[in-house]
Structure formats: structure tokens, C-alpha cells
């Protein structure tokens, strides 16, 4: 069969064909779609976990039970999951674990310069990167085999263009039997393994073998595999020019230099050292095209080889990515890049009728010093609205305001800081900050803008909406952890909301104000009525 698919859909298809049994993840542009598609598949159990760390930990569990597990997150999500990730790396697993991470190369969906390959390098975890949807589908199967053969999680790297790019995919309607394997592991803890290794002279002792996993041995084998795998391929050209390319940049370069020789890397870490050496030796000038930071370039240069990368393609101001125009312009110095015309920009804004919008209006009116997080709650910080002063990561605003106010006691002349946060953020990581505020007797006012869904990524349900249980409502949880002053106000009652916020800010206690109104786009009516 043939179908036009985004790489997101193709990853989902590849996962089904590989017999994936469990999928966990946290929504994040641009790869939310992978889980949305897999939710339709009967053979797969899916969950939107409450954050990325939890999602990965769930996958560790399903893997230990013997099942193939897929974890999906955007690039910044891997930061949240980093603790679980670095613990997982280097410990034996049962069912394969593939972690799909979408880097926002070119800052199309967000505002970061992160490159998930750094995590692979840091933790000796292999990284696989497809160039189109067909490869996205096919490489998932290889990634699972690799994961099980070398007992390691595999990072499957996508980017903002690739995720949303549709190309023709050939696939079998046939669906694989679920592979299931159950190896015997006594210890799954890398740290314990290390301590044992360091404490005893002979790790081969019978009593110790269950505690020691020789992850370095697996890594050495993986390096040999990198030189053999069909994920990497050489295409001989007609000229002496050589290009080593990864990801979608391969197709950009292929179009501009159809006669060059290519070493296309689908396995981007560990590197196929022998093939790279051979390729560079047999070509006059070898160029390197890798989206993101010059990481492969550094690895190749540390092999003592010569390659042209960053010298020709500085990482700024092009924001670490390639387009056909950028490549052509740098090589041939002739293309006019798409000119920046003087067309006024369009920036996203909060919808009228949303609690975010209502709270923003109050902040603006009273010029309140405010911290916010990311998602719809962060839009007020963009310069065309410009009413939020501090924006950091998901769930961060409570802690920042608590710290700021703690450092500036009540009698000081500094303005008090207000913290605002969407309900999605609250359940993601914000709740930890609130527990800390109770623990440390914070005297800060926080507003939870509850539009009863994770709106920015397409309206995924939060725990409060999904359970439809008063005990799981935000107010119950806040009271349950010891917040005395909890108020719930419909954000349509803007005057009441305004007065409540101002009054709370004049008090020296921790106050939580839940400003609630259903999302105007992703309205989940019935459940909301029930919660009220």
C-alpha cells in the first residue's frame, strides 16, 4: 500500500508494524500527532502521562514486563525526563524502548536551541535520525531491534520540518505479532552495578553477576554495528565532492548537488567511524550537513579528520538549521534568500473568553509584576502583548515568584510578584512548586488559569477532566496539600476575579486563585459541567 504520511504518522505506522505494545508521552509541538494516531490503533495501549519524566518511567516499567515501548516527547521534554533517562542508560532492559524526541531545529514551534543528540553523547545512547516519512517508518523497526540486541534505549530524532512533512510511504497492511521477551535481571540499577564493580576485584563471581551489567561492552559492540548498519549508506556520485549529511538536510543537499557523492547517516550516534574515514579519504572536499549543533563535526574532527562544516555554515543567525536556500547561498553565493519584506508580523494571542485572556487584562490594568510559564499562559509575554515579566519553563512560575517574594520581604519597597500558570502546567510540574510553597510557608499569590484542557497542543485532557472526580479537581488537590486560601472564580466574572487577586496580594499568606472557564477552542462541555 502507498499513502502520503507525515513523519509523525509514519513513526506511528512503524511502531504498529514493529509490534509496539505500549506508548506513553506528553503532548508537545511538533510531535503530538504520533500519540494521537496510535490512540486509534487497537493493538496498542496508549497513555498521555502527566509529564515526560513520568512517561519515560512508565516505559521502563512496560519494558521490564517484556513489551516493546515507545515514548514520545518534544525536545524540551527530554530535559524533564533527563533524570529517568540517564538512569535508564547503561542498565539492561527487556522489551525495546524507543524514545522519539522532536528537536525544534530552526525554532519553528518554540524558542530553544536544544539538540537531543547531546543526551545520546552524554549517556552513550544510540541516536537514529530519518530523512523522510518512509525512513521514519522503516527506521523505527530497526531502532527496536537495536534496542533489544544491545539492551539500550534508542533516541529517535525528528525535527519540526520532518514531523510535519508528508511524503509517500509504502507499507504492509500486515501487522506484526507483538514481540515479547523476558530476560532475567536482578538488578536494574546502574549505580549499584558500578559500586559492586568498584568494590570487588572479580565481578565474574557467581554471586555478583546479577548485579553487574557490562554496558561498556554493549557500547563497543554498538560502535561496530554502526559501521555495518544499513541505516547509513554511501551513494557514489560523478564528482570528487563528498557530502556527509543527516536528517532532512540530506534531501536539500541532494537536490542542489545531484552529482556529489553522499555518505548519508541514519545512525547519527555512535558514528560509523570506518566508513567516515574511508569516505573522507576518497574524496577531495568533504562537507558536513547536520541540523543542530556541530556535534558530529566535533566527533569527526576528534578522529583527526578534515571536514568542512561550521566554517561554511555558522550556527547563527540561521538558528542551527538548513534550508535549500541556505545551502545554495553558502555554497554558490548566488541565491537571493527569501527577502525579509516589511510585512507586519503575526504573533499568536490568547483567545477572548479564555481565562488566560481575562487574567492578562487584570495584570495589565494594575501593572502587576508577574511570572508565567509556557503554553497558552506564556503568550502574554510576547512583545505585542507584553504584560508578563518573567517566563521560564513548564510549571516554573510558582517557584520563581516564591523565591522572589521570599528574598524581598513584605516591608521592602519592591513590588510583590504574582505567579500565573495554566492548568496543563499545574498538573505537569507546577504541582511540585505548590507543595514546596506549603512546605516553606510561602506568602505568595498564585493564579491557576484553568481552561480545563491542555490547549496549546490540541486539547488533551488533564487528570481533573479525565477522571471527572471532584477529589481530583485542582481545588481539592490544593486544599489536600494544605493551602488554606483557595478560591474558584469563573473568569467571566472579571470584577470579582480582579478584586480577589488584589486582595490576596495584600495578604501575607499563600493564596491559590483558580480562574476557571472552558477553553473556547477545545470545549469539553459535559465534563466541565460536571466539575462545576
Amino acid at each position: 500500500m502507498k499513502k502520503l504520511m507525515t513523519s509523525n504518522e509514519a513513526v506511528a505506522q512503524g511502531s504498529i508494524e514493529s509490534g509496539v505494545a505500549f506508548v506513553s508521552g506528553y503532548p508537545g509541538t511538533p510531535c503530538t500527532e504520533i500519540v494521537t494516531v496510535l490512540q486509534q490503533a487497537k493493538s496498542v495501549k496508549c497513555e498521555w502521562s502527566t509529564n515526560e519524566k513520568v512517561a519515560l518511567e512508565v516505559a521502563i516499567g512496560t519494558s521490564l514486563a517484556g513489551y516493546r515501548s515507545l515514548v514520545v516527547m518534544k525536545t524540551l521534554g527530554l530535559n524533564v525526563a533527563a533524570d529517568a533517562f540517564t538512569q535508564l542508560a547503561g542498565t539492561p532492559i527487556n522489551g525495546g524502548i524507543v524514545i522519539v524526541v522532536a528537536d525544534d531545529i530552526g525554532r519553528i514551534a518554540g524558542d530553544d536551541y536544544q539538540d537531543c543528540r547531546s543526551y545520546g553523547i552524554m549517556s552513550s545512547v544510540p541516536v537514529v535520525e530519518p530523512s523522510n516519512s518512509q525512513e521514519a517508518k522503516d527506521f523505527v523497526a530497526v531502532a527496536f531491534q537495536m534496542s533489544e540486541a544491545y539492551m539500550t534505549p534508542v533516541i529517535f530524532r525528528l525535527n519540526s520540518i520532518l514531523c510535519k512533512s508528508k511524503t509517500v510511504v509504502s507499507f504492509e497492511a500486515f501487522i506484526a505479532e507483538k514481540p515479547f521477551r523476558k530476560l532475567s535481571h536482578k538488578s536494574y540499577q546502574k549505580t549499584i552495578g558500578n559500586i559492586v564493580k568498584f568494590g570487588f576485584d572479580d565481578c565474574a563471581l557467581d554471586k555478583l553477576k546479577d548485579y553487574w551489567h557490562d554496558f561498556n561492552d554493549e557500547w563497543q559492540k554498538l560502535k561496530l554495528y554502526a559501521d555495518e548498519t544499513a541505516l547509513n549508506k554511501i551513494e557514489k556520485g560523478k564528482t570528487n565532492m563528498g557530502i556527509i549529511a543527516t536528517g532532512i538536510a540530506y534531501y536539500y543537499a541532494k537536490e542542489i548537488f545531484p552529482d556529489a557523492s553522499f555518505l548519508k547517516l541514519g545512525m547519527v550516534y555512535p558514528l560509523a567511524e570506518k566508513r567516515i574515514r574511508q569516505f573522507i579519504k576518497t574524496h577531495q572536499d568533504v562537507y558536513l550537513l547536520e541540523d543542530g549543533h556541530p556535534l558530529i563535526e566535533k566527533e569527526i574532527k576528534s578522529m583527526g579528520l578534515k571536514i568542512i562544516g561550521e566554517d561554511l555554515f555558522p550556527r547563527f543567525p540561521e538558528m542551527l538549521y538548513f534550508t535549500p536556500d541556505i545551502i545554495e547561498n553558502k555554497f554558490l553565493k548566488k541565491t537571493a534568500l527569501v527577502k525579509k519584506r516589511d510585512v507586519p508580523i503575526r504573533l499568536p494571542t490568547n483567545c477572548k473568553g479564555c481565562p488566560h485572556h481575562a487574567v492578562n487584562e487584570i495584570i495589565k490594568k494594575h501593572d502587576i509584576y508577574t511570572a508565567s510559564g509556557i503554553g497558552c499562559g506564556g503568550l502574554g509575554a510576547l512583545p505585542h502583548v507584553g504584560i508578563i515579566d518573567v517566563v521560564k519553563c513548564m510549571g516554573s512560575s510558582f517557584g520563581i515568584a516564591h523565591g522572589y517574594n521570599k528574598a524581598n520581604p513584605a516591608h521592602s519597597k519592591s513590588k510583590k510578584m504574582l505567579a500565573i500558570m495554566g492548568d496543563g502546567e499545574f498538573w505537569h510540574t507546577g504541582i511540585n512548586n505548590l507543595i514546596n510553597m506549603v512546605h516553606n510557608e510561602s506568602a505568595t499569590t498564585v493564579v491557576i488559569e484553568d481552561n480545563m484542557t491542555i490547549a496549546m497542543t490540541g486539547g488533551q485532557p488533564t487528570v481533573a477532566v479525565k477522571t471527572n472526580d471532584a477529589l481530583s479537581s485542582i481545588e481539592s488537590v490544593c486544599r489536600g496539600i494544605g493551602v488554606r486560601n483557595v478560591r474558584v472564580i469563573d473568569s467571566k466574572n472579571i470584577e470579582v476575579l480582579e478584586k480577589t487577586i488584589l486582595d490576596a496580594m495584600n495578604m501575607e499568606i499563600l493564596s491559590v486563585i483558580i480562574s476557571r472557564h472552558p477553553c473556547v477552542i477545545f470545549n469539553q462541555n459535559k465534563k466541565m459541567e460536571a466539575i462545576k
Binding site: L4, T29, P30, I108, A109, G110, N132, S160, I161, K164, S165, K166, T167, V168, I248, Y251, Y252, K254, E255, T323, P324, D325, E328, T335, A336, L337, V338, K339, R341, D342, V343, P344, I345, R346, L347, P348, T349, N350, C351, C376, L379, P383, H384, V385, M456, G458, I521
Partner: protein, 204 residues
């Protein structure tokens, strides 16, 4: 005869750009072409700019279209048409909705407005302007069908039979809105004269 067709579809998040892209892509998939189509959305679902690149031919490599190489730019609004104008090749065709929707950065005082109609008038390219507001009004349809109306105008410039477009719309849009999308498509197609002035994409 050229064997490749590169189309940019652009507008504002919420205008149905992704759906229009799907309709166009489905038409050419049915015809057996190789195809790559990419939606660059960003956080466009809250009112930002959205651009789709559609590349149709025998063996498409890059999914992105280079500057000054698109055969057509299809815009759902004039500011976005202008923003994507530099993708268009000299002999290319610009199809746009008549509407000009002032960007929020102007309303909020971050950017100064431009003389959009004047600048637009002066663009030296082939243009087809679709008055979707008036056309949809004829059929008592609301503006959310503007995308199908513009696609109807586009269909007049591509030598693929109408039935193929209708089939694509049927496959792509939700069944309950199929009839209305067809009505909008037909209005756009009917109102467009055969081939833009001097425009020939040679795509047969």
C-alpha cells in the same frame, strides 16, 4: 512541458491552510505523481502565519521550495500573500483572497501598518484575485469555506479534470460539510477565468 509544480499555500492559523494542502495533495496523489508537502505551522493555531510547501513531480527530493522558484503562491489573505511573494518565480502566478486582514502586531502597536493595497497592486506578477466573501454570500455560506473557494480558483489553472478535485474534497473534508465545500469550490472555479493572463505552468 514541465514535469514539476511547486506551490506555496499561505494564510493565518485557523483559515484552513492545512486542509487546502490536503485537498491539493490528494488530487496529485490520485494522478500518480510523487509528492512532498510540508506545513510550517509554528504556534499558528493561535493566529500566527502558516505556510505550506507542496512539491509535485516525478521524483521530489527537497520538501521545501527555494526562493523565487514556486510556480504558484496561493494566499488566503493579502498580507500573507505579500509575505510569501518572494517564493514566486518571475513568470509565476499569485492567487489570493481579496481580503486583507491587518496583523495583530499592528493592532497592538508593535509594527506600523503598510499600504497593503498599493504595494499589492504594484507586484509585477500574474494575479488571480478571488472575492470569496462575495462568492460565498451568493450561496449563503460562511467564511470558513473560503479555503475551498480559493482551491476552486486554483483548480481552473491546473489541467486536472474537475471530478478529480471533487473526489479529493470528498476524501479530505468531514462528510457533513462535503456539500458546502463543493458549493464553495464550484463558486471559486466558476468565477475564475481560464488561465491567468500570460500564465502557463505547462503542467499537463
Amino acid at each position: 512541458m514541465i514535469s514539476q509544480l511547486d506551490i506555496i499555500v499561505c494564510g493565518i492559523g485557523g483559515q484552513g491552510i492545512v486542509l487546502a494542502n490536503e485537498i491539493i495533495s490528494t488530487v496529485f496523489m490520485q494522478k500518480g505523481y510523487d509528492l512532498k508537502s510540508t506545513d510550517i505551522i509554528g504556534i499558528g493555531q493561535r493566529g500566527g502565519s502558516v505556510i505550506s510547501h507542496i512539491r509535485i513531480g516525478k521524483n521530489i527530493l527537497s520538501p521545501l521550495i527555494k526562493a523565487k522558484s514556486a510556480d504558484m503562491v496561493i494566499a488566503f489573505e493579502k498580507y500573507e500573500a505579500l509575505r510569501c511573494y518572494d517564493y514566486l518565480k518571475t513568470e509565476g502566478l499569485l492567487i489570493t483572497d481579496k481580503e486583507a486582514i491587518i496583523p495583530n502586531s499592528v493592532e497592538m502597536g508593535l509594527n506600523e501598518d503598510i499600504e497593503i493595497e498599493m504595494i499589492f497592486e504594484a507586484l509585477p506578477c500574474n494575479k488571480t484575485i478571488v472575492d470569496t466573501k462575495a462568492l460565498l454570500k451568493l450561496q449563503k455560506l460562511d467564511m470558513k469555506f473560503a479555503n475551498s473557494c480559493v482551491v476552486g480558483a486554483l483548480s481552473k489553472h491546473i489541467e486536472v479534470e474537475e471530478a478529480c478535485w471533487l473526489e479529493a474534497i470528498k476524501r479530505v473534508v468531514p462528510s457533513q460539510s462535503y456539500e458546502k465545500n463543493i458549493m464553495a469550490f464550484r463558486e471559486g472555479r466558476k468565477a475564475t477565468s481560464l488561465k491567468g493572463e500570460g500564465f502557463d505552468n505547462g503542467f499537463k
